[in-house]
């Protein structure tokens, strides 16, 4: 006997009588309508933020020119050649990179928090970002000496590729340590992640110690995170990784919702937990590796954005993940615009801005909503 899953008809009988008697909306705790409205609003906000980010910076490009450029898809004749170069070669790649990285960081954070059932889990915490960072730093420091042959082989991509591999490697190591007989222990994984992160941090420390002055400047920028040096090449390098994962995350929502009740219950609700975990882990590792590879370690976006949104629209991942992508992009664009403006024409690493705003904000959320977060 097999179970037919194509139950098409609406079943009537004693268990479905009264369904019309109730109007569940007024007293229900269903926040989906609110979530949908907020998602639309944030989409508009992202558009406004993008235009704002495009038109602000060290060089003068006024808002009208930016608008006509955007809404004519680059064919506008109203802007001059100077403005066109600034927009096309410098600001547009930077804004698009910011959107991709911001969305990826926030979604990876939300997915990892759902998987680990812990609102503090983040690729930065389970060592994936540290592993990716170690990969990058080893090539920045040793790229001209011990690792020179490899660095030459990969050309200008050697640092991003190293970061990407570092992230994937840490994740697989993490997975090997915490998986026995096809069962992954979330607690072991969290603790192993902290240990691996510390180890990667220590190795990075040694490399920083032996680095020369010029490398140190590169390293500082990398470790604090920055969108400087955004190019179309970098976008084409990471978009094929980040975009499919963002779309994939929509299919993870159901499983992540079930996982909030624990692995055993998720299985009883119909999720094939082991396969689900594998897919999720690989997705997070790949998108974190890609993000760290081009922008370094930008902290707090992956923790603050999902937290805020859970308070606003609830923790249902069906709405949470797309909302995270939008708000992550908005926040990173705003932070980057501040980073570019505050000490213009020089610029601050964006990680400083996200940490300065993010950390106190995070503390404030913890203090205010302690009972809801149930740490």
């Amino acid at each position: 006997m097999t179970v037919s899953r194509s139950s098409g008809q609406r079943i009537s009988g004693p268990y479905f009588n009264g369904s019309k008697l109730h109007d569940p909306k007024p007293s229900s705790g269903d926040r989906s309508v609110y979530a949908q409205i907020l998602t639309v609003l944030m989409f508009v906000a992202l558009l406004v933020t993008s235009i704002f980010a495009l038109s602000s910076g060290a060089a003068e490009v006024n808002i009208n020119s930016t608008m006509s450029y955007i809404f004519s898809f680059g064919r506008s004749l109203e802007i001059n050649a100077y403005e066109r170069v600034i927009l096309e070669a410098i600001r547009l790649p930077r804004v698009i990179l910011g959107i991709l990285i911001g969305a990826s960081l926030a979604v990876s954070g939300a997915v990892m928090q759902g998987l680990f059932r812990n609102p503090l889990a983040d690729p930065g915490i389970v060592g994936v970002a540290s592993g990716a960072g170690l990969g990058a730093v080893s090539f920045i420091v040793l790229g001209t000496s011990y690792l020179a042959p490899v660095a030459t082989f990969f050309g200008i991509y050697h640092v991003p590729i190293a970061a990407f591999l570092g992230g994937i490697l840490t994740t697989f190591l993490l997975y090997r340590v915490s998986t026995r007989g096809g069962h992954t222990s979330v607690a072991t994984m969290l603790l192993a992640g902290i240990a691996l992160g510390a180890l990667a941090g220590a190795c990075t420390g040694i490399l920083v110690f032996i680095a020369d002055d010029e490398q140190l400047r590169d390293l500082t920028f990398w470790q604090l995170g920055s969108l400087a040096g955004a190019t179309w090449t970098k976008i084409f390098a990471i978009a094929p990784i980040i975009l499919p994962i963002l779309f994939l995350s929509a299919f993870l929502a159901k499983g992540l919702n079930a996982m909030t009740l624990g692995e055993a219950t998720a299985r009883h609700l119909g999720i094939n937990v082991q396969i689900f975990k594998r897919i999720t882990i690989i997705a997070v590792a790949a998108s974190t590796g890609a993000a760290v590879a081009v922008s370094g370690g930008i902290g707090f976006v992956g923790i603050v954005v999902p937290h805020l949104l859970r308070l606003w629209i609830g923790p249902d991942h069906k709405y949470l993940l797309p909302a995270c992508a939008l708000l992550g992009a908005i926040m990173l664009l705003l932070a980057d615009t501040v980073a570019r403006q505050i000490v213009a024409p020089a610029e601050l690493p964006i990680g400083i801005i996200t940490a300065t705003i993010g950390a106190p904000f995070f503390l404030w959320i913890l203090l205010r909503k302690r009972s809801l977060l149930d740490l």
């Binding site: 139950s7 479905f16 109730h22 705790g29 009740l261 219950t265 009883h268 609700l269 119909g270 809801l372």
Partner: protein, 259 residues
Amino acid sequence: MLSVSHLNVSLARKQIIKDISFEVPSGTFCSIVGPNGSGKTTTLRALTGEIAYRGSVQVNNLDIKTTHPAEMAALRGVLPQSSQLAFPFTVYEVVSLGQLSRTYMLLDREGIIAQALEKVGLANFGRRFYQELSGGEQQRVQLARVLVQVWEPVWHGMPRALFLDEPISSLDIRHQIQIMKIARQYCDDGGIVVAVLHDLNLTAAYSDQIVLLKDGTIHSIGQPQNVLTKNNLEAVYHCTMHVAQNDAHNQLQITPVLA
């Protein structure tokens, strides 16, 4: 129908369950009782596939080891002893987690959630945050979630099953009776309930079949009046018991004799 044959479970190299076999026909409320450490919860966790076991467990002739989780989810709901929630879900959202299965494609989701909440006595709790509820209320929300998952007791001609691990242990007497009645009704409508219970009087009043466990083996199995006898209970619990049939209410009364 649930059939269990030669079930053996070892945890940390110690054999907890020793060669248990029994069957629960459709329409039957089966209670698993026994002292602490006799293997009640372990048995239930094996029956739901949460822990490794030797032997065979079949729900409607589907082996639970080889059946896809999604197919199993359409056939049976499981209420754990306690549930912790990682994020601030509302009661409505927690109950709606029971509707992940594809069997819910075209049904009236909101109506069913409202009815389930009303059944467990939490009709106006939809908006409340799960984590702000008392332990007993949380347990009833979880029960509503499980009920919603397998809402009709018979589905496409097949009985569905509820596995409940101590569903009433944190409830007051009124809600204990309310939950036992829900389980009873589920069986009367053709479903199966397998519950781990401690309260012998309520168990006797509502169950069709009782599995009395002792040290990981079945001490006795059958109808309440045949299993919950003075001799059986004294042998299993090691305390003097008084068992009487209250003729006025046709109800077994089981009380320990306090020396």
